[in-house]
Amino acid sequence: MSVEYTDSDRLLRVSLGPQHPSTHGVFRMNVELDGETVVKLKPVFGYLHRNHEKIAEGATYLSSMPYTDRLDYICPLTNNWAYALAVEKLAGIEVPERAEYMRVILAELTRLINHTAFMGFILGDMGAWGSALMYAFREREKILDLFEHLTGARMMANFMRFGGCRNDLPAGWREQVGTLVEGYGPFLDEMEKFLVGNEILLSRSQDVGQLPAETLVNGGITGPMLRAAGVSYDIRKVDRYGIYDRFEFRIPLGEKGDVYDRIMIRFLEMRESLKILRQAIDQLPEGDYVNPKARIRGFKPPVGEAYGRIEGPKGELGFHLISDGTPNPYRYRVRPPSFINLTLLEDMCLGLDLADAVIILGSIDIVLGEVDR
């Protein structure tokens, strides 16, 4: 939309945030409005900045693991995995098969958590009074109970270790996951019935916030947002990290890349995650849950650097580590998907309503712990 604004006094400058109900934390958007139309939008970050990278550079490799839980606190286990993967690349550690399966199960459960919670959040942004959020959290709770049973904590799992996982599956855990997976399909059906056909939701979300696929790739957008625009780029398929090449699953692709597609892609992704989970539970082998050669105390990777990345629920989560042979990383860099996915926020929102900007932000699915680090 190209509109000439000569009289800047006509514009209403509104600061959405940092305390605002739908900025998903302490995020701030400085918006200029013409009536209710957004003509300028500048995101402001840093309210939750704690210099995670600096802390990690002053700590041992293992000590950073619990801090990764706090990056994207909705899905700590994928963060754990990304960090463990990067360190394993850096130090050349093998991961036993059983641990890989455990990681896949946990990562896909995390994806379920994230996407389910996303449904609730986006509906909250659209003004549905919390019903979807409560249903989502009800189901999320069940997965969190499983996490608590396995890792000892509901959110701050701190579970992956370099070369495996911290402890083995408790007795009966695998069966519990099986029951959960069976119960999840009906829940998704109900959720779809609740949301996807709803005319208000359709008219709110369709044709809102779309950008050409090339722009998205160039802007570094990853994850469901990119795939909603029809770009088939899922790191589980591209890098085939872990043991993802053993599972049969598909990558859902949208056509327009608007908010509606982003919602739908996440729905479809959850169904694919359920497929992966079913296969992983069936195939889970016996064996070591951690590489017996991996050391917990006094871990010093050789000199070198490594960039490891996984397909987090929000996009490409990467860790760039540089080791100088000491117990502390020389450089520890997080490639946070929610932060980089915000790059094109302004482009998506220009010319649309204030209410649209809110749901576009919601559809990017950010977590401020990761954006500000």
Binding site: H20, G127, A128, W129, G130, S131, M134, L202, D353
Partner: protein, 400 residues
Amino acid sequence: MSKDNIPLWSPEHLPLLPQRLVEMILANLGAPEWLVSISGFMVAASTVLAVFMTAFALLSLIERKTLARAQNRIGPNRAGWFGILQPVADGIKMLTKEDIVPARAVKLLHLLAPILIVLPAILALGVIPYGREWTPVPLELGLLFFFAVGSMTELSVFMAGWASGSKFPMLGAMRAISQMVSYELPLIITALGVVMVSGTLSLPEIVQQQGGGFWHWNVCTPWGIVAGLLFYVCTIAEANRCPFDLPEGESEIVAGHMTEYSGFKYALFFMGEYLGLFAIAGLFVTLFLGGWQAPLPGLGLVPTWLWFFGKLALVIFSYLWIRATFPRLRIDQLMRFAWLCMIPMALLTLPAAAIWHYMGRGPLSWMVVLPLVLVPWVLVAVIFNKRLAPATRTYRFADG
């Protein structure tokens, strides 16, 4: 039936009891006529106020409980039995909170706005017939009075938004004005159909004409069902309820016109909103659902005001249910819906009502009027599907 003949304690006349007691006592004390009538009037007004204040308190709890249940929660259950004392706790909290006035606010208007939002709601409640014998102020032009008073609400909402001297309230006020003005039109037009058929603006008279079973209610006529539906949607919009709660729009503009209010002024906004909700839902019941009329003849033993409040409760419950389910519309969609769908459809009910009025109730008029209102609906449905309906989509899957 003259006043003296009716038994004092009949359930039908229970709501009038305080008024009649006061009048009787005063008359026996030999008070002058004017004092008796004024006192009686004030007591009658207080009765209505007391009833609806209680209902407001109850609704604030019931709304939270209902929403909670719809969301698989329990809702407030700590204050008293089933949380019955929660409204009291809320009231005390609101009263004891600090009242913050923004530095750039227009102080006088900022103070007046919450008062002015309660006032019209109370006034409007005065003209609604709650029972056969219970109409606080049986005005000849009751409907006109209702709308005249009801449109004051817009003014106070805008006053609140403007006087706050802040941006979110301003945006909320802008939204409120455009929304309420737009939805007032179909609201009044559909009510006009009822007026045409009934031939009166007096609300008790309109209810009286709907007697004799639910098939006599206005909503059970071919034009009435359309008008009633439109009216219902408009009441939601007028009451700023979800999915038309844009003036508050808590996910976008924080709390709209109420953003800069706190303490008791905020509570007054809530009270005004709930009382307005009772008034507008009461009007809907009166105009279309037969007011205090029993749904079936032969239910004369039940006091009529119970029927009214039962219907009111149902209508309000439907509001709650909708609130638990729907997302909010966007402002342009809301306006388009009002001007492109609601108003033309509302206008169409007028000729339909006119034809119905002149042809009288009967199978023939059903056959004439029904197509008149049905055809536009089908047209809208088709157009909606062809043009306006959001596209259905298919999704590809990549295997690699």
